[in-house]
Symmetry: C2
Subunit: 281 residues, 2 copies
Amino acid sequence: MNTVETIPELRQAIKQLERPLGLVPTMGYLHEGHLSLVRLAREQSASVVTSIFVNPTQFGPNEDLDAYPRDIPKDLALLEAEGVDLVWMPSPEIMYPEGFQSWVDVAEVTQVLEGAQRPGHFRGVTTIVAKLFNAVQPDKAFFGQKDAQQVAVIEQMVRDLDFPLEIVVGPIQREPDGLALSSRNVYLDIEQRKAATVLNRALKAAKASYEAGERSGDVIRQTMTKTIQAEPLAKMQYVSCAHPRSLQELKEIVEDGTLLSMAVFVGKTRLIDNLVLGPNH
Amino acid sequence: MNTVETIPELRQAIKQLERPLGLVPTMGYLHEGHLSLVRLAREQSASVVTSIFVNPTQFGPNEDLDAYPRDIPKDLALLEAEGVDLVWMPSPEIMYPEGFQSWVDVAEVTQVLEGAQRPGHFRGVTTIVAKLFNAVQPDKAFFGQKDAQQVAVIEQMVRDLDFPLEIVVGPIQREPDGLALSSRNVYLDIEQRKAATVLNRALKAAKASYEAGERSGDVIRQTMTKTIQAEPLAKMQYVSCAHPRSLQELKEIVEDGTLLSMAVFVGKTRLIDNLVLGPNH
């Protein structure tokens, strides 16, 4: 497994790789969620590139950029074991040199849910992802369904700006008790860790209601809200029952692909989770 | 010479072309300025793609989008004669389908000169150019020095977003009396056509002053202003003596590459021109 830092080194290394090329962008501190994406990339590509970059422009001023967990030696060992061909670990100075001033902005779909709670977050995401795409030029790029809005935003950007690649979305990976894997789960103490299952429990309650025939967006949102409010250590930020592409809140569940999602604080840790409703999900 | 409209057709046609691939983006109504870029592309590339697209998002609400001159049959004959391999002529609906919402924004360098006079213009330019780059994936893209700020903005975007290509800039093409070639010159009547040489005369006066030893930005700007004000049919919008990359106005001429530029109305026609000062220019 080869490791590079600068873009010229990256371009040189990529020339040696067989196509099709799969890219798995990460912020490091890898868990089974990331590794499942690497395996998906491995299955669908002749070569796999993983990037590790904690992107400062997608963190708000009061968010956890400095505290964001990092463990590069462990990450590299995991990626090597998965048969990754190339790991790109640029510095912030390489990605955002002095005088940097170009941004990719996706409008409507970034204004709700995570975008409403984290102003500027998606501008940071789309800009760094555009840079990763241009630098690596993958045939496919792999993202996790865990960040459902990120997937919708990146798919919108790829369609609108004609990026010559395919986005592949891997399913959410969960602990045995249903907690979605996240690098931020390390912030949770034992009691909080138990309480954190409330996100998945709320999604399951909503799904049960849907499967029992409920089609009202309001009722579905209410079901999720009540489950979260019953957990003393959890503080709900939002719940959503939305169209899967536009992410606009629904009055009535759409035929296929309705996205249920939420952000919940457990202590100081902000967790997100989601589930797609519909016969094909 | 092959002609395509949709992006799938384009991608299919490009697969057949030899690399390196040169792209010459145009808005059609081609003149010698465009053709000189095509020849430059021909010299430096194995294959040449030209796009013809009058990009609505770079025109302001009070600008000449609807009136913008078009002559596709003539354009195609000219490009065929220059040995262009592929012409891409997308419709506005292909480039901006319903729900389009992604934009590329370059910040500081778009805020002055043309950007100050034409709000939103460069957002339209950078967005369409990013789309052209992603759709065609050229090795080199060719732009005219006539639009000096456009060149600075696109070079900034390419550096910041890591587009995997080289920008090549072709020199301004001029009529025998010095008027810079422009598709908009067709708007000029005979008297206006004579008056329009004032842009080049102002640039030459400034250059003569520089060559005589003048180094003050204010004096150089004053020299251009006076020349333009002496022409009754001309109405100056701005003159500039600026740093070639940042486009910030200069108090003192920089060692090499100072950009002199201006926008002048002759009748209702808005004309621009520029010249680079310095020993290597």
